[in-house]
């Protein structure tokens, strides 16, 4: 029983004192002021649910007792598939209280076909071998029978909040270096990786990040970010839980249908911090009616942190131009480079609240040809703009490494390698993937970038990944779906990202060879079928699908489709796909061909 005293993390000037004196995330929660509001779950003006830290702890304790009755024990893995909300957060903490290892997976949206959902869940389920898979009451019956269960796994529906007896929390004493929970990366079956994180790593990350962000006891976070994503889970749930901050939450689908609600909530609740993927800025600038803009008061917003998608100057400028009259502070827009493998942030731009992140204009040709960021004095010509992602967090080191594994000097583009004291324990049950990703204690990110004056600029990706509105999608998953169509030549498919300047995010473009020329006469029907297959399996809509005759796709020397070269060929034939001047989606990807 650890809930014996209330420990205040507050100092006299309201700034939090880091490092916080907790060994585990649970110690932090149980030390929170019980009367302080923790989660404000907003659905509509007349439908807001608020729980204090004390009430939340009671809910989690009740869930823990229920799960204990379901034979969940310390060390067991438990998969949570529930919609965004307090019940999901309570179930996550309930698992931690028992010393079990929770992993949150995306809630299936209605587009997913039951038979395909089985495949989607099978990868995570077989790798984690969970004792329990917990779904909510509304989880569709037609999907239940497709949830793949291992020999020792059981599926249970989560009880409604407040329907189980509440007893005080009694967390199991666990080793803070053991795996506490698992975050999943992108991908379906073979590509899915479970990032195993310890309490120690999570608390170190929060201590470093909290200090850099100059967190105050009065900070209040706003979030629409899903909890299966590191930005939603760490920055907008665990960080406020550990630092005893309030967080205003809404679901991603509600936000996307009414983006203005984000501005209304920041205004109404005086939120001071929010994390967002880049496209959000453009979405807010373009999709909120102009007459509404002046009705929002964003003066409370200390930092709106652009993270988890490439940070684009054009998106930031568009937002600043749209909301300059809404009392937005001059330095409110900030940036961050983060990944689940380091718990969350690797770098963070300054938090002095006065200036936006640094920008540099560099010659695109210099980048492409020599992989050198030659700073341009002029914004004309072939100059492209990069926004700084800031400096390393304390306890974190970066290297920029060439294809040959040599350290590169400032201004040279190479792969970003990271060493941090908040690193993953490993990919759960996948020592092969762990040893592939880690070399001599350095995590090879697969991202490309350069450093200038100690700041990191991310330029693109070496690994194959498409980031659609903050969601990570592996092109291999798209290619497999398209390849399985009877009229498509198996293995002769390439999927890649194209930046959509109108949306402020990447989108998926697919090019596929038909088996026989005659297939091109059925182009429209095949494209429609492929589009539906991608949506129902991955939940994302491709921007375009191009069907080409046999032998159109460029092959690499190894005989496989060459993504970068095929992409360039397609862009040459279809100028309508042009990602736009001043935008460089990747530098150096040709190494992958």
């Amino acid at each position: 029983m650890m809930r014996t005293k209330h420990f205040s993390v507050e100092s006299s000037d309201k700034l939090l004192r880091f490092p916080l004196p907790f060994r585990t995330v649970l110690e932090a929660l149980l030390s929170a002021p019980p009367e302080k509001p923790f989660i404000i779950m907003w659905k509509d003006e007349d439908d807001v649910e608020t729980v204090t830290f004390g009430q939340f702890t009671a809910l989690a304790s009740a869930q823990a007792n229920y799960l204990k009755g379901q034979e969940l024990r310390a060390g067991d893995r438990v998969i949570l598939i529930m919609p965004q909300g307090i019940a999901l957060m309570a179930a996550f903490v309930a698992a931690l209280l028992l010393g079990a290892i929770p992993a949150i997976l995306a809630y299936p949206n209605f587009k997913i076909e039951p038979a395909k959902y089985r495949v989607g869940l099978a990868g995570a389920s077989s790798n984690l071998e969970p004792r329990l898979i917990i779904v909510d009451d509304a989880f569709p019956d037609e999907l239940i029978k497709h949830v793949s269960l291992g020999v020792h796994s059981r599926l249970v529906r989560s009880p409604a909040l407040g329907t189980v007896a509440t007893v005080p929390a009694s967390p199991r004493n666990s080793d803070s270096d053991e795996t506490a929970f698992i975050q999943h990366s992108a991908g379906t079956t073979g590509l899915q990786k479970g990032v195993a994180l310890s309490h120690t790593a999570v608390l170190r990350q929060i201590n470093h990040l909290g200090k850099v962000l100059r967190l105050s006891f009065e900070d209040r976070i706003y979030s629409w970010l899903p909890l299966y994503h590191d930005m939603g889970l760490i920055a907008c749930f665990i960080l406020p839980m550990v630092c005893h901050l309030s967080v205003v939450v809404q679901s991603p689908t509600e936000w996307v249908m009414r983006p203005a609600s984000m501005l209304q909530l920041i205004s109404d609740y005086g939120c001071s911090l929010a994390w967002i993927p880049n496209f959000t800025l453009q979405f807010l600038a373009r999709r909120v009616p102009m007459k509404m803009r002046s009705t929002y008061d964003l003066s409370s917003l200390r930092m709106l942190i652009n993270c988890s998608e490439p940070v684009r100057a054009s998106s930031m400028d568009e937002f600043l131009s749209a909301y300059g009259a809404s009392n937005l502070r001059p330095g409110a827009l900030q940036s961050c480079y983060a990944m689940a493998e380091t718990v969350f942030a690797v770098t963070q731009s300054q938090s002095n609240g006065k200036t936006n992140p640094s920008r540099v204009w560099v010659s695109a040709n210099g980048l492409r040809r020599n992989k050198v960021a030659k700073v341009s004095q002029s914004v004309n010509g072939d100059a492209v703009c990069f926004v700084s992602s800031g400096r390393c967090l304390p306890g974190t080191k970066l290297r920029i490494v060439s294809d040959e594994g040599a350290d590169l000097p400032g201004g040279h583009v190479g792969e970003i390698w990271i060493q941090s004291d908040s690193m993953l324990n490993g990919y759960y049950n996948r020592p092969d993937l762990t040893s592939e990703a880690l070399r001599d204690g350095w995590y090879r990110s697969g991202d490309l970038g350069f450093q200038l004056d100690g700041e990191l600029y991310v330029t693109g990706r070496k690994k194959d990944l498409i980031i659609v509105a903050g969601e990570n999608i592996y092109p291999q998953d798209v290619e497999e779906i398209v390849s399985s169509h009877s009229e498509i030549q198996d293995g002769r498919v390439v999927a890649f990202p194209i930046y959509n300047a109108e949306l402020g995010t990447e989108q998926i473009v697919v090019v596929a060879e038909v088996r026989q020329h005659q297939g091109l006469q059925r182009r429209q029907m095949i494209e429609t079928q492929l589009r539906t297959s991608i949506v129902t399996e991955l939940g994302v809509v491709p921007r375009a699908i191009y069907l080409k005759p046999p032998r159109w796709i460029v092959k690499s020397s190894a005989g496989k489709p060459a993504r970068s070269t095929t992409r360039e060929k397609l862009l040459g034939e279809h100028p309508e796909l042009d990602p736009g001047k001043g935008e460089l989606t990747s530098v150096g990807n040709a190494a992958n061909d």
Partner: protein, 83 residues
């Protein structure tokens, strides 16, 4: 022009924006990939304009926008009269 016809024309012209695409009030929009979830905001605003009702985002889900018929049913169910 009927309300559903206004919406169909809007979706074809402003949202789908691809040649040779025809839809009716029962055409699957979201699960077919014709309409991206990022475009739902435009459809919500158009639905409010046509029905003169405010649609509370927390009371509808993406599946309520799967067809034109379903979105008008949702507006009738949860829409609030504009003041």
């Amino acid at each position: 022009m009927s309300e559903t016809q206004q919406m169909i024309e809007y979706i074809v012209r402003e949202v789908v924006r691809r040649p040779n695409v025809q839809i009716d009030e029962n055409t699957s929009l979201v699960s077919s990939g014709l309409v991206d979830s990022l475009a739902l905001v435009d459809i919500v605003i158009k639905l409010e304009e046509i029905t003169h009702k405010r649609i509370p985002a927390g009371k509808v889900q993406a599946k309520d926008f799967e067809t034109v018929q379903l979105m008008f049913s949702a507006a009738a169910r949860v829409g609030k009269a504009c003041s």
